[in-house]
């Protein structure tokens, strides 16, 4: 119990846990939904997208934080943008080389991580005023918070929309034979908006606001 309390009070734990739940970038701060929802029709794409996002935000925060004393204030946005864009190109090229099919499905959305407010927001709000290891952990936490929402939405959409999880059928044939049908609506864009709205509601109720 004592050790648990100790862990909870360390800066690193706070830097990681805060963005995962209490200050989740998507469901509480409303940041970075741009590129998030379009990839949630399937769990597979959602997970790849979350991993790319975590990679970019963690390393960009760390790099910005390492350079925070030498970046001139006036051109810091441009510098941050250059760092972020480089990392995004790395992620994009990596996916293209090793996971070509998924990268085709993700289409332009990996590239759009550049304009994702979370990455820029963490660089501005956290990395510029904190040491590199904390900035890195904060980036990981934000990536995990983002990924959590994405994976939840994708799980609901893939399960209800096509009766599958990771492309494997989980709803047995007998249920279909008994008259169950997949909800085609879940695969369409409006469903993502509505699910995220309901998730925000759920989280607010659970957090007891």
């Amino acid at each position: 119990m004592v050790s648990k309390m100790k862990i909870r009070n360390t800066k690193i734990y706070k830097a990681f846990a805060n963005p995962v739940w209490g200050n989740n970038p998507i469901s509480i701060q409303m940041l970075g939904i741009c590129s998030a929802l379009a990839v949630t029709v399937q769990l597979k794409t959602a997970i790849v997208m979350s991993l790319s996002m975590t990679f970019v935000v963690a390393f960009s925060s760390m790099t910005v934080s390492l350079m925070r004393k030498i970046i001139p204030r006036n051109i810091r946005i441009l510098t941050e943008l250059a760092i972020i864009a480089t990392l995004v190109i790395l992620a994009d090229e990596f996916l293209r080389a090793y996971f070509y099919d998924i990268s085709k499905q993700l289409s332009i959305f990996v590239g759009l991580i550049i304009t994702n407010c979370i990455v820029m927001g963490r660089a501005e709000a956290f990395a510029l005023s904190n040491p590199p290891h904390l900035a890195f952990v904060d980036g990981l936490g934000n990536g995990a918070g983002y990924g959590g929402v994405l994976v939840t939405v994708a799980f609901i959409r893939e399960l209800l929309g096509s009766g599958k999880i990771f492309g494997f059928r989980v709803i047995p044939e007998s249920v279909y034979a008994a008259g169950y049908e997949d909800m085609g609506f879940m695969l369409l864009a409006p469903a993502a908006f509505i699910i995220i709205g309901l998730l925000v509601w759920l989280q607010k109720v659970l957090a007891g606001e």
């Binding site: 409303m30 864009a85 332009i108 590239g111 409006p190 908006f193 309901l198």
Partner: protein, 202 residues
């Protein structure tokens, strides 16, 4: 000509950049509280998209695409991996240039659009449209029409949402759902309405 009208209608209604591809959500949620600011930001987005999409087309076709540097004697060069960073620089620059031009020529327009222009550089709808333009192999004219249509579609979405949110202020929303939650659900319903346009071709 029919092709162009199709691209326009498609980008405004069926393939609405916001309601079908979720681009530009951040400013969409943040700025849709007031209908006047929504209209201002909408016009700014239409303007910037109409200019940046064709400019990025030129940059891509003559500098970045595989074999695009043939005119400079480098036919094997493929710089397309640089498109992300080039596009974002072009967008940021164009926004800055447009801001200065508007400031020079129309004080009134600057006063109403000026605040929103810097916001636009980081709006994913702008970068997204340029990337879609590359992915869909549009021609120069098509990319201009596509940029304009995307802008109009985005503006239509944000102005309608602002109007709905004004009404929502008087609605009795359940606790925890007010604000962000109900906005997303309303957007979902709007997206459903826009999907009814699918199948319209000329």
């Amino acid at each position: 000509m029919n092709d162009l009208i199709n691209i326009f209608l498609n980008s405004v209604f069926v393939g609405n950049i916001l309601l079908a591809y979720f681009l530009g959500m951040c400013s969409f949620v943040a700025v849709s509280k007031n209908i006047d600011t929504a209209i201002g930001l909408g016009f700014a987005v239409v303007f910037v998209l109409t200019v940046t999409t064709p400019v990025n087309w030129l940059i891509y076709q003559f500098l970045l695409a595989p074999g695009a540097l043939a005119w400079a004697g480098l036919p094997d060069m493929d710089l397309s991996y640089l498109k992300l960073i080039m596009f974002i620089v072009v967008i940021a620059t164009m926004v800055q240039v447009i801001e200065m031009l508007i400031d020079q020529f129309s004080r009134a327009l600057y006063a109403s659009l000026g605040v929103f222009l810097p916001l636009i550089a980081v709006n994913c709808a702008i970068l997204g449209t340029s990337l879609f333009m590359v992915e869909r192999n549009h021609t120069f004219i098509e990319s201009a029409v596509f940029g304009f249509g995307s802008g109009v579609g985005w503006m239509l979405a944000i102005v309608s949402l602002a109007a709905i949110r004004m009404k929502l202020r008087y609605a009795n929303t359940p606790r925890g759902l007010e604000g962000y939650g109900i906005t997303m659900i309303v957007t979902g319903l709007m997206a459903m309405a826009f999907m009814l346009f699918s199948g319209i071709t000329l």
